[in-house]
């Protein structure tokens, strides 16, 4: 019963909105506003085709490589910077500087430096998506509880064991908060990186349709992006639920008491 309820809650609002959209577009409409049935049809013909291989998959693969690299690099650098005070003092001004640069402005520059290829697009994704992971990891590592740290020391838990059993789990709530932001920034930058001088990918396809006034096709590309967002959020929630079950339980306990 609870599963049925959850599914109902999940699809309730989308179904309602689509119904409203369908009702409002029954009559004659603006050329740029698509009708639901027409869009569904277009969606099928545009995306259930070779485009999956030529545009969808390359984008997704670049996105995943970019996200994975952002998370791994962000956590590794964040742990280092959070652990060593001198490294923090040394890197802080530089980090603030680079963090303030909007990654889209890097696209033309990186095109010149790296060329118009997959590496350039992945670097653009990393350049924007690494910051929330990196900065949250630094904060999480710095905030590791002093009593827990003393406890670990008295039991001889040092070095790598300390990292594995104390620092990483202790910082994991903050790391996960950073990863959540990293996913949405990554998706945005995936699209942007494909909008200039590209010849494949979702961003390229959407811009191509827009310039050719293929409006339903353009909308179908935007819908694909939305669906990727939902997919990412599902994966994230699954991972977070497993990794941070203890954290949510602890928080709930503290709220109740």
């Amino acid at each position: 019963m609870s599963l049925v309820k959850r599914v109902a809650y999940f699809i309730g609002l989308p179904v309602l909105l689509i119904a409203l959209w369908w009702l409002l577009t029954l009559g004659p409409t603006n050329f740029f506003v698509p009708k639901p049935l027409k869009l569904a049809e277009t969606f099928w013909t545009v995306w259930a085709s070779d485009r999956i291989r030529t545009d969808f998959l390359p984008s997704i693969i670049r996105l995943f490589i970019g996200l994975a690299a952002s998370i791994v690099l962000g956590v590794v650098l964040g742990v280092l910077i959070g652990t060593y005070r001198w490294l923090r003092s040394l890197t802080e001004p530089i980090l603030e500087f680079f963090r303030a640069i909007p990654p889209p402005v890097l696209v033309p520059l990186l095109m010149l430096l790296i060329g118009i290829n997959d590496q350039m697009k992945i670097v653009v994704i990393i350049a924007g998506a690494i910051w929330p992971v990196l900065l949250n990891t630094v904060e999480g590592v710095r905030a590791v509880d002093q009593v827990l740290s003393d406890t670990s020391a008295t039991y001889g838990i040092t070095g790598f064991a300390r990292l594995r059993y104390l620092v990483l789990p202790g910082a994991s709530p903050q790391i996960m908060a950073g990863v959540r932001q990293c996913l949405s920034i990554g998706l945005i930058l995936m699209v942007i990186s494909e909008m200039f001088g590209s010849s494949s990918g979702l961003g390229f396809t959407i811009v191509l349709f827009q310039r050719g006034f293929a409006i339903p096709e353009m909308w179908s590309g935007i819908a694909v992006l939305g669906l990727i967002g939902i997919g990412l959020s599902f994966v994230f929630r699954g991972v977070e639920g497993r990794a941070l079950g203890w954290y949510h339980g602890l928080r709930e306990m503290q709220r109740d008491s």
């Binding site: 003393d150 406890t151 008295t154 838990i157």
Partner: protein, 294 residues
């Protein structure tokens, strides 16, 4: 009551390490800790010297702010003393020694909230590469000793405060230390639980023959638990008094606490602490005299 009627055994405050006497399990000699605060200095511990013999249960009691936690951290190897040495079984402590386990006051912050009760107790053993079967046995025994065998898969935060502190004690017990340091471990639990935990410590101490140094600010607790009570002065800290608790080994919350001898000892500790406080108010003095009449 007069103090002269009491039979108080003193330990020699200055212990020669090259003497022929068997070396103590834990030896604190001339310990001094000064914190640098901005331009100034805060002298938390002035000059502490005492020994704890193997298998002893010693309570350290002192007014709040007496530098008890500083002292304990120096003994545990978490802080480096400004001068003086701490020796464990004849070896100078420079980092947290392997043969020592510490139970902290803040049980909620000393257990890993991302690990189950069992994993918490097991972690130090896993880190020491104790074989799995032996590890399992030690964990089970330790949890049984603190009567928590029924919750190995629970998370610490799902348990009451007293139970959490028992998990921390089980973790220390499973580690099989030579010396157990306890830093006001029951200060944050309710009175009833506290009485149970005091009896638990006594029974674990008797069963395992481990050396225990128990820091507390509670006078009754120190007398009830200890075989010996070391009274610290106000900060900057020195040893104010050192007395043997000659209560029967089998202690009982009701009987022991209402016995005249308990009351005598308790008064003695109380007077010494009052003395320590007034001395702090009238300014620092030389090392306190022993055996003085209050």
């Amino acid at each position: 009551m007069t103090v002269n009627e009491l039979t108080l055994t003193k330990t020699n405050p200055v212990t020669e390490t090259n003497g022929s006497a068997p070396s103590p399990m834990l030896s604190v000699q001339g310990l001094k800790k000064v914190y640098q605060v901005g331009d100034g200095e805060i002298e938390a511990v002035r000059d502490l010297t005492f020994d704890v013999a193997a298998g002893e249960l010693v309570c350290l009691v002192g007014p709040s702010g007496a530098g008890k936690t500083t002292l304990l951290k120096c003994i545990a190897g978490l802080l480096t003393p400004t001068s003086g040495v701490v020796q464990l079984a004849g070896k100078t402590v420079t980092e947290p020694p392997k043969a020592m386990a510490v139970v902290f006051q803040e049980y909620g912050r000393s257990l890993f909230p991302w690990m189950t009760v069992q994993d918490n107790v097991e972690l130090p053993l896993k880190n020491q590469r104790v074989p799995k079967a032996e590890r399992q046995q030690l964990v089970n025994d330790a949890l049984a000793a603190v009567e928590l065998s029924h919750v190995p898969k629970s998370y610490p935060w799902q348990l009451s405060g007293g139970m959490q502190q028992r998990v921390a004690i089980a973790r220390a017990v499973a580690y099989k230390p030579k010396v157990m340091l306890m830093d006001e471990p029951f200060a944050a639990v309710d009175a009833q639980t506290r009485a149970d935990l005091e009896d638990l410590i006594r029974s674990i101490w008797k069963k395992l023959g481990v050396t225990i140094l128990f820091v507390t600010h509670d006078i009754d607790e120190s007398v009830y638990l200890g075989e010996r009570v070391i009274i610290l002065s106000n900060s900057p800290t020195v040893v104010q008094d050192d007395l043997t608790i000659d209560l029967p080994e089998q202690r009982d919350q009701l009987e022991t606490r209402s016995s005249p001898r308990f009351t005598d000892l308790r008064s003695r500790v109380y007077e010494q602490i009052q003395l320590a406080k007034s001395r702090a108010l009238t300014g620092p003095t030389a090392v306190p005299r022993k055996n003085q009449k209050p």
